[in-house]
């Protein structure tokens, strides 16, 4: 607490001074504490958080998973979660003390005064009811529009306001008939239905494609421009940097740093904030390490394996020629997931494949792994045909290529220990199994005590390290990484990306690196393929693609990437709210 205040007091006052001093505070929170369970299972989720917010301003709460940011936000509408105990010295909205509200008064307050857009846009609308019914629900509950016709009209107006096309039609459709972006817009419309003065958006852009992300952020920006106060919760500093006036950085239920957005991003005071900013992979981080604590264990400057320094072009490990893969849809329609994809991957190289959801990039990974045969085209591994071989003949050669998945947990047998999982991954002719496993442990930075743990008992970062250790175990020439860091927090993501970099330098493996995150791909890849709707729309050197895109689609993609708006000195500052695709 004291630490928090020390960091917090000065900038917070500065903010107050900057804002119109005459304007009353819309929201005032002092020493908010939330805990779950009792007795031995007691866990404090929020440990004394204080902040205030004025009309028309935007506050961002930033932190990694478990930081207590979502619980803090949900406490503001009196729904911190089941089994939660809430205490606050002060919790006031527009001068009204919220800590004394009855259940009934809370219900009248929610939705009317504070609109809340929950995390998980894709599952926050009832899948059994039309979208319009969800938006009309708030109107009906608060008696804002009595007749059915009036509500239907208001719903259409709201959907139009948030930019959903064909609002009359969409209002009558089920959520799953809407695209991800439309669903998120509809959710925002539902939150705005009663014209609340404060809108809280919890991770409003997670799980959305970058171009959609940019549109949703633009919509929130518009909303604020209409005079609403906004609280934006995110794990992604870049996302909030464009819009926030003030920022709270949270870790383990405490505010570690607070201040005006410009200051936080240009001159972070707290070490944790600095680490978070440094951990964001992007063009600027290429060739450098993301996690400061992990110094490189190997001499990464050894140029022997770097394809760009080699005299002759190194051998081709993997070649894909005109791959086509079609799937039958539910009503027997044919969907072409991969449509004529060709590429080459040379030894010591990292080839990035970037694309939005549905672009076919994961199907390419499955074809390369020969989990499924291509309908047309061929995959050649180390100069030999690979994709159309019978599985029995392929098995011996599978040790040359391995895979790391997005969700490591499901890729481990839940009954097996870490040691057994790695033992199973070693080739049968491995002479010193015990020594090799110890070697793998050292490689991914595991201590011996983890050997007897089961996957469920590991943290997310540890699981992904184990997946990498397993992938490395048979000494492959090539590792396919399918969204390996998408499910991880920024700081863990940084460690895993650093580890992949180290392994490449030490072992000379090559990567086929698949991700939707342009920053991650730019950070790690030598060359990049951009995929859209099953086709490669552009390919080339990573810097070429991301700094000088030629194709319209890539240009739009790159423009939509959220960047830290307030860059540290030395970078050209990006104007706020630029790069949005409306």
């Amino acid at each position: 607490m004291t630490d928090t205040l020390e960091h917090g007091a000065r900038p917070a006052r500065a903010v107050d001074a900057r804002a119109n001093a005459a304007a009353p505070r819309l929201l005032d929170v002092a020493n908010l504490q939330v805990s779950f369970g009792r007795g031995a299972h007691h866990v404090a989720a929020v440990k004394g958080v204080s902040f205030s917010l004025h009309q028309g301003r935007c506050l961002a709460i930033v932190g990694e998973s478990g930081s207590g940011k979502s619980v803090t936000a949900r406490s503001l509408v009196g729904l911190p979660g089941t089994g939660a105990t809430l205490h606050a010295d002060r919790l006031a909205f527009d001068g009204r003390d919220l800590t004394r509200l009855s259940h009934r008064a809370w219900r009248a307050f929610r939705g009317k005064e504070i609109g809340f857009v929950l995390q998980d846009a894709l599952v926050s609308l009832d899948p059994l009811r039309p979208v319009g019914a969800e938006i009309a629900e708030g109107l009906r509950l608060h008696g804002a529009a009595r007749s059915r016709e009036e509500r239907a009209q208001r719903v259409v107006d709201l959907l139009r306001l948030v930019g959903v096309p064909e609002p009359e039609l969409k209002a009558r459709q089920l959520p799953q008939q809407l695209s991800g972006g439309q669903r998120q817009r509809a959710l925002i419309a539902a939150a705005l239905a009663l014209d609340p003065r404060l809108l809280i958006a919890d991770e409003p852009t997670t799980a959305l494609d970058v171009t959609i992300q940019a549109q949703v952020l633009a919509l929130l920006e518009e909303t604020r421009a209409r005079g609403k106060a906004l609280i934006l919760i995110s794990h992604d500093l870049a996302v909030v940097s464009r819009m926030a006036d003030e920022v709270l950085v949270m870790r383990d239920g405490e505010v570690v740093e607070r201040g005006v957005a410009e200051q936080i991003f240009s001159d972070p005071r707290h070490d944790y904030t600095r680490r978070l900013i440094a951990a964001i992979p992007s063009a600027h981080s290429r060739g450098s390490r993301l996690a400061p604590s992990s110094a490189p264990r190997f001499d990464t400057s050894s140029a022997a394996l770097d394809p760009r320094h080699a005299a002759a072009a190194p051998e081709i490990l993997l070649r894909a020629d005109g791959l086509v893969k079609r799937f039958a849809g539910p009503d027997r329609s044919v969907h072409t997931a991969v449509d004529g994809v060709s590429f080459e991957l040379r030894r010591g190289e990292t080839l990035g494949i970037v694309g939005e959801s549905g672009s076919g990039k994961s199907t390419v990974a499955r074809l390369v792994m020969a989990f499924e045969p291509p309908d047309v085209g061929s995959v050649t591994l180390l100069g030999e045909d690979w994709g159309t071989l019978p599985e029995a003949a392929r098995r011996r050669r599978r040790r040359d290529i391995s895979i790391v998945y997005q969700d490591p947990l499901s890729s481990f047998d839940p009954r097996w220990t870490v040691g057994r999982i790695l033992d199973d991954a070693l080739p049968d002719d491995e002479p010193d199994r015990r020594g090799r496993i110890a070697e793998l442990f050292a490689l991914v930075g595991f201590s011996g005590s983890l050997a007897h743990r089961r996957p469920l008992e590991l943290s997310g970062g540890q699981r992904q390290r184990l997946a990498i250790a397993r992938a490395v175990a048979p000494r492959p020439r090539l590792i396919v990484c399918d969204e390996p860091v998408s499910a991880l927090d920024v700081s863990i993501q940084a460690q895993v990306l650093d580890l992949l970099g180290d392994l490449k330098a030490e072992l000379g493996v090559s990567y086929l690196f698949i991700s939707h995150d342009l920053g991650v791909v730019h950070h790690i890849s030598d060359r990049v393929l951009v995929m859209n709707l099953g086709r490669v729309v552009e390919s080339g050197e990573a810097d070429e693609i991301f700094l000088k895109p030629r194709v319209d689609y890539t240009k739009r993609l790159v423009a939509a990437v959220p960047r830290l708006a307030h860059r540290a000195a030395g970078d050209h500052p990006t104007p706020r709210a630029s790069g949005a695709v409306a």
Partner: protein
């Protein structure tokens, strides 16, 4: 709403065929195939009957266990067509089935179909009222208690586990003893009126409610944590409102898929319950026919109830998209 919106939605004939009519026809054909298999299966069991069928028929009819003469046996074999090759018997059997002819009872020599037709209405009445009652009890007990851990909710959950285990005949006996014998609230021998059907239906409904209740409860607790439910609460909806308006519909879905199956269990339970309460119905008929080893009647009843089961499941399948519109939409 708007005309433009509707015309955009209006599906062409191909789409209607693909989305609705096609699957329905396919299901119908599937159901017919299953029914044919059921009939063949029962025929096989009859044909594999140990011992001589003609001897059995004579004994069943006479109520004795004597060794009939060869002439007597030949007469019976000729009458029932047992002397024909199995294939011919099988085709005759299927042909009869198509025309609604299930053969004649060994005991009364009346057509099986007529005997069954007399006993079907009380059984259907009993099973349907039990199904309805079971659902009502399950929902009333589950909606306010699911996802909660207070003593009352735990007690209700435990009751549902116990109820699902309890056999209907036992509950029936207790209800009979307590309500009819001790309290004299209802007559011991069930009449055909409401009070006559109430006790047997309740005896069937309680185990069923325990079963459905457990299924709903699990789904209910899962859905309660879904973001769309929390979203509704964030809009100012009350806990009970959320449970009734959002969660219940989801939680009921797995229960409905199981209701077709539950009908089979109810038929089984009805057989026992009709015996307990001395009610007319298919169950009592089947039990009597079984102990008399009146094979045509037994197989007839089984084929008929399998047919009803298949029809019920077909209806559930076809009606399911109404409750879960996702199926239509996807």
């Amino acid at each position: 709403m708007s005309a433009a919106g509707r015309s955009a939605l209006a599906p062409g004939p191909v789409v209607i065929w693909r989305r609705w009519l096609g699957p329905t026809v396919r299901r119908l054909l599937g159901a017919i195939a299953v029914f044919w298999a059921v009939a063949s299966f029962t025929f096989c069991i009859q044909a594999l009957l140990p011992g001589d069928r003609a001897e059995l028929i004579l004994n069943v009819a006479a109520g004795t266990f004597t060794q009939p003469t060869a002439a007597e046996l030949a007469k019976v074999n000729a009458k029932y067509g047992f002397d024909a090759p199995l294939v011919v018997q099988y085709l005759r059997y299927l042909g009869g089935l198509v025309q609604g002819d299930l053969g004649a009872s060994y005991q009364s020599h009346r057509p099986v179909l007529h005997i069954i037709a007399e006993q079907v209405p009380p059984t259907i009445g009993l099973t349907l009222s039990a199904l309805l009652l079971g659902w009502i009890i399950a929902i009333v007990l589950t909606v306010p208690t699911a996802g909660r851990h207070d003593p009352l909710s735990r007690a209700v959950a435990s009751f549902q586990v116990a109820a699902a285990v309890a056999p209907p005949y036992w509950i029936g006996s207790i209800l009979l003893v307590v309500l009819a014998v001790k309290l004299r609230l209802v007559p011991v021998e069930g009449g055909s009126g409401l009070s006559g059907v109430a006790l047997p239906a309740l005896a069937l409904a309680i185990p069923l409610s325990g079963f459905i209740g457990q299924v709903i409860r699990e789904e209910f607790a899962r859905v309660l944590d879904q973001p769309f439910v929390i979203s509704a609460r964030m809009r100012g909806m009350s806990d009970l409102g959320v449970r009734l308006l959002h969660v219940l519909r989801h939680a009921v879905l797995p229960g409905i898929t199981l209701s077709g199956w539950a009908l089979g269990a109810l038929f089984s339970g009805a057989a026992v319950i009709e015996t307990v309460f001395a009610r007319p119905g298919l169950g009592g008929l089947l039990v009597a026919a079984t102990s008399a080893r009146d094979v045509p009647l037994v197989t007839g009843i089984i084929v008929a109830s399998a047919g009803m089961y298949i029809i019920a499941n077909l209806l559930v399948d076809i009606a399911y998209p109404i409750i879960d519109p996702r199926i239509k939409a996807s």
